[in-house]
């Protein structure tokens, strides 16, 4: 991490690290590094630097740092024994995060959140006002009762029975799930757990859960069940997914923003060509029908054919005459 760290960023880090260590005399080196979010090597480099610093250069004026034998001791650092006040961004992250939590439906800790917020405001002063201009809404699209039930199931390791809507296949499904966590990602709530039907971990969008029953059955997931890495979003393409190329008119340019696409090429006239990967092309067929010709499948041809066939069938259901077979476009 230190390769890009500026001198001032490192100073800020050290000014937090010193009081933290002073109050944890003898902490295990590896533990300290892990809690401080740095490598052991970095920690030792930092301690070597601290050892050379003081309010003067007489031995009794210098900070004392020891880390031989795998334990860290820092003393004679009274001048910086308290951390620097929270910076603007630091205060902002905690205040906005707390306010977001306060908006979570059915969260039992509301009182705790309010107490923490009041203390934080007292500790930050002016930064609190600036933080109020940044807002987050994560309360959307889920009933408080459902969220509370799901959380309780995670906490008590109970299996749940779900009736779950899969809109891309237009199916309502039934399945037993061993819940692992409730996560909110980009304003949507998900229940992640081991799905006995799929024999794999699955993310279930809470707004698509039609019913959730907490069963009186132990719901500890199998030992090899792994939480997904959600850093890249909920969608993870696989190697054997179908590669699709679409041409979007200007009116459908939003598709490139909305769906996870691999590439976007915008032409001079504002139309664009996008490529994406997907395991299931059913949702794409639906998207192409509703876009009414603003998006065209360049490949694969089977998808283009499926769009044509489905549109014809639907038009027949309306008794809408098939427009004259197209000559070109």
């Amino acid at each position: 991490m230190s390769t890009q760290e500026t001198a001032t960023a490192r100073l800020a880090r050290l000014l937090t690290m010193v009081p933290w260590l002073v109050n944890r005399q003898g902490i295990d080196t590896e533990q300290a590094a892990a809690d401080l979010g740095i490598s052991v090597e970095q920690l030792e480099t930092d301690l070597r630097l601290l050892y050379l610093c003081g309010y003067g250069q007489m031995p009794d004026e210098l900070i004392d740092a020891e880390w031989e034998g795998g334990h860290v001791f820092v003393s004679n650092a009274d001048t910086i024994a308290r951390p620097l006040r929270l910076g603007r961004d630091e205060a902002l992250t905690l205040m906005v995060g707390l306010r977001a939590l306060a908006a979570v439906p059915g969260l039992g800790e509301r009182d705790t959140i309010e107490r923490a917020m009041a203390k934080l405001e007292a500790a930050t002063g002016a930064s609190a006002e600036a933080a109020s201009r940044v807002e987050v809404a994560i309360d959307e699209g889920v009933e408080a009762g459902l969220l509370a039930d799901a959380r309780r199931a995670v906490e008590t390791h109970r299996r749940v029975h779900l009736r779950y809507l899969v809109p891309s296949r237009d199916e309502s499904t039934e399945r037993d799930v061993d819940p692992m966590r409730v996560v909110n990602l980009d304003a949507r709530w998900y229940l992640e757990g081991w799905c006995h039907r799929a024999q794999d971990t699955r993310l279930f969008r809470m707004d698509r859960i039609e019913s959730l029953d907490v069963l009186d059955v132990d719901g500890t997931p199998p030992a090899d069940a792994r939480l997904r890495d959600l850093d890249a979003g909920t969608f993870t393409p696989r190697e054997d997914d179908t590669r699709v190329t679409l041409r979007l008119s200007r009116g459908a340019a939003w598709v490139a923003d909305y769906y996870p696409v691999d590439s976007v090429d915008v032409a001079a006239d504002g139309s664009s060509t996008v490529t994406l990967r997907t395991a299931d092309t059913l949702w794409l067929r639906r998207l192409l029908w509703r876009l009414g010709g603003h998006a065209i499948v360049v490949s694969p041809p089977e998808l283009a054919r499926a769009v044509t066939d489905g549109a014809l069938e639907a038009l027949a259901a309306y008794g809408a005459a098939d427009p004259a077979p197209a000559s070109g476009r």
């Binding site: 944890r24 630091e90 029908w289 639907a314 309306y318 427009p323």
Partner: protein
């Protein structure tokens, strides 16, 4: 240490400067500071030292360190000295209960995967510096996360917090054209998983909402912009909700849904009768186009009976999709 001018030497110099200015009760003159902080001894000349010291002072202040200048009289009347006020420097001594630290921890982790992950973790560490936290097993199993993948997030956030007028290129939804905008930022809000900026658009002379993902290229401060005040009744989320959000329910549509299909419509609608494999549903809706979009997606499994406007919109979409793809599939059906 390694290089005397490298970043490590600079951190050492700045830390020594902070320590001596915090330690002293009386403001120290520059000459004295030069004696105390050994790294200043490396300065090649008085001018070099002056430049270095000026820059160091600015950088400490940027970190939020309250470095003050005081008149210290002395031999020359105009001599000034420097010190850091302990009480202004230190985080106030506020004790957090274990359950409060637990929710603060969760608030901090909300940003763990966003551009503010560093400040969020640092803030929590400062609050926890005072003592060893006891683990509280509340709040397990729940994990809110914020994403800030939009490149414009950092500069826009800074402008909102500092109340700094900015200019940027903005892509409009339909046409994809990029226009230059000058905006007095009012607020920043995440709504349905997307970040929006609210503010006063100086070119259009009216309040506007901007989606961060549509900001194209750099966000620049407008120099010598007039100061402004955020309206006291401004609520960013309210403004976004009314500008880009859903409208009120505008009517009820009658649709026929094939057995086992149209699940999202079944959830919202009320069944009015079954005929063979078709169920008739009444579905409240807000917007003709939005309902037409949804129904078109079901292809032959859902048919709009009324209103006629929505029915026509669905047929138009299906015909458009058919015409666009027929060319590719050779016109055969």
């Amino acid at each position: 240490m390694s290089s005397p001018t490298g970043p490590a030497a600079k951190t050492e110099r700045l830390l020594n400067l902070v320590l001596c200015l915090l330690y002293t009760r009386r403001a120290l003159p520059k000459s004295k500071i030069r004696d105390i902080v050994p790294q200043y001894g490396d300065a090649a000349s008085d001018e070099a030292f002056d430049r270095m010291f000026e820059r160091d002072k600015d950088e400490l202040r940027e970190l939020g360190i309250p470095l003050v200048t005081e008149d210290i009289g002395g031999v020359w009347d105009d001599e000034v000295g420097y010190r850091i006020d302990q009480r202004e420097y230190a985080l106030p001594d506020i004790e957090f209960e274990p359950d409060e630290l637990a929710v603060l921890g969760l608030a901090s982790r909300t940003w763990a995967h966003a551009s503010l992950a560093g400040p969020a973790a640092q803030a929590l560490r400062k609050l926890k510096a005072a003592g060893i936290e006891r683990d509280v097993d509340s709040l397990v199993g729940i994990e809110p996360r914020l994403g800030t993948s939009e490149p414009a997030f950092e500069p826009v956030k800074n402008a909102v917090v500092a109340q700094q007028t900015i200019s940027f290129g903005y892509r409009t939804g339909g046409q994809g054209e990029v226009n230059a905008r000058r905006v007095q930022p009012w607020g920043l809000a995440s709504w349905h998983g997307r970040w929006y900026l609210t503010g006063f658009d100086l070119d259009r002379g009216a309040p506007r909402v901007f989606r961060l993902s549509r900001i194209d290229g750099a966000v620049s401060p407008v120099r010598r912009a007039a100061p402004y005040v955020v309206p006291s009744d401004h609520r960013a989320r309210e403004m976004i909700r009314t500008t880009v959000g859903e409208r009120e329910v505008s009517g009820t549509a009658t649709v026929r849904v094939r057995q086992g299909r149209g699940q999202s419509l079944r959830r919202r609608g009320t069944a009015r009768g079954v005929e063979g494999e078709w169920t008739t549903l009444q579905v409240p809706f807000t917007d003709d186009d939005a309902l037409a979009d949804e129904v078109s997606g079901y292809g032959a499994d859902v048919v709009v009976v009324e209103p006629a406007e929505v029915r026509d919109l669905v047929v138009a979409r299906l015909r458009g999709a058919l015409a666009a793809h027929r060319a590719l599939t050779g016109g055969a059906a």
